[in-house]
């Protein structure tokens, strides 16, 4: 008997929740805001679905509803990807340790 592929995906899903659980508990509380912005950026991996939606069965002459929605979704996800990663980078660059040399 073969395993339903859905069950395999469910396994991946459940195990990823556990990984997320342990990894996130290790995140230092002072970085919780960057954590939110970076999780926000990576959840824009939904762009994968948007790309398939906008360009599969798209032949230039007949544009379907799906193609248009996919195009909009790609744009929205792109805002999030660039905005999310850049703002995270900007924040992380501000976190500095005490530098004794500069004080003097």
């Amino acid at each position: 008997m073969e395993i339903d592929p859905f069950i395999l995906r469910l396994c991946i899903f459940i195990l990823s929740i556990f990984i997320g659980y342990f990894v996130v508990w290790n995140v230092t509380p002072s970085l919780h805001t960057p954590l939110m912005s970076v999780t926000n950026a990576i959840s824009s991996v939904i762009i994968v679905g948007a790309i398939i939606a906008s360009f599969s069965s798209f032949n230039g002459s007949s544009i379907s509803v799906s193609n248009i929605l996919g195009f909009i979704a790609t744009t929205l996800a792109a805002i999030n990807i660039f905005g999310g990663f850049l703002v995270t980078q900007r924040m992380l660059q501000m976190y500095k340790k005490k530098e004794k040399k500069k004080d003097k």
Partner: protein
Amino acid sequence: MSVNLSSILFLITGILFILALRGLSSPETSRMGNFFGISGMLLAIVVSILSVDIFFTNLIYFLIALSIGGIIGGIIAFKISMTAMPQLVAGFHSLVGLAAVLVAVSAYYSPESFGLGNFQAIKTASIVEMGIGVSIGAITFTGSIIAFLKLQGLMSGSPITFPGQHYLNALLGTLIIFLIGYLISNQSTQIFWILIMASLAIGFLIIIPIGGADMPVVISMLNSYSGWAAAGIGFTLENTALIITGALVGSSGAILSYIMCKGMNRSFLNVILGGFGTDSSSSNTKEKTEQKPVKSGNAEDAAFLMKNASSVIIVPGYGMAVAQAQHVLREMVDRLKKNDVKVSYAIHPVAGRMPGHMNVLLAEANVPYDEVFELDDINNDFINTDVAYVVGANDVTNPVAKTDPKSPIFGMPILDVEKCKSILFVKRGMSPGYAGVDNELFYRDNTLMLFADAKKMTEDIVKYLD
């Protein structure tokens, strides 16, 4: 590209995202983590481009979408002030929600592009997953919009409630579950759109009764939802990268919500079901308190006290963010350090409007992160500290949380500011904090109230320190 190869590459994307989160365990590794995140995203995009056969003829459209998004996202990322991070994150969540809805709708109308069957004859498992994905996406979308409007001040931050609210929500929730089940036997367009509309409505209704200071919970919860929405779409599209990422983000948001709830000693349900016990009790306490004597001082007194102290702990709260006082606060601390005063910062988990909000603001003002401490790490130090400088915080210092079981904030972990030799409270007036509870610290003998805007007062203190 073969499906097997792309699946492996999507798995690598997932691993890179895990490393991105792993990096955030300390500020030193965090930048590397962000780099992993970016690489993962790049890989995911390239793989999906290569798996669409006729992609290259349409490359131009993809580049258009990417550049529009990139320019808007880039401008936002560089222009946004750190004080506005909560609303930015809320806004970004709404985009993820909307994108999830759009992808699901698009998959509903052209399931053949995704290999899910034909229009209105989608595989049973896929239509259920699609229903769940589109529903969570829609809830995330409207919920985040409301959160954004409240945080941005475009909508009143106070809870909006009306009779029968909970019944309406329960009804809509049941309807959504029913509709998702109904999609199995009837995939008609009407059912699908009613499902979307009901989900949009419930997202709106869930967030409007939640008040300003509960926003850290809301924003973490929406963070979690945006993850579950992505995972739902991942199941629909049978895409490993989306499933892994969705699970990571979903559990991350859930943990943050839990930490925030614990920081307020409230159950998650209690936050969702509406704001703090409203007016009647708080108006009573107000009348009582006006008769109690309060010592108020000016900047000169405060400067004198701090200059002659050997240690000072600064307790910032949302008021500091509103007044944008973090930069001048850092100046004040620099002066104090020159006078050999030991200074540290104490951050309560729910200070501000999102998890870690105060830490980012202090980092923006160049405060080294090793001078900033979490509640558990610093709470024992207050007893040996000469002066606590409370700027824009209130409820999180209120000892009533330990002493009065009737108080709405009873049991909330607080910063033990009361144990300091003297307390300086920067506040605009005597009004109680968000919870509507009067703070008995105001009336203590060792408390000096500094009635002013946080930034103005700190600036004045800096002048007297010179």
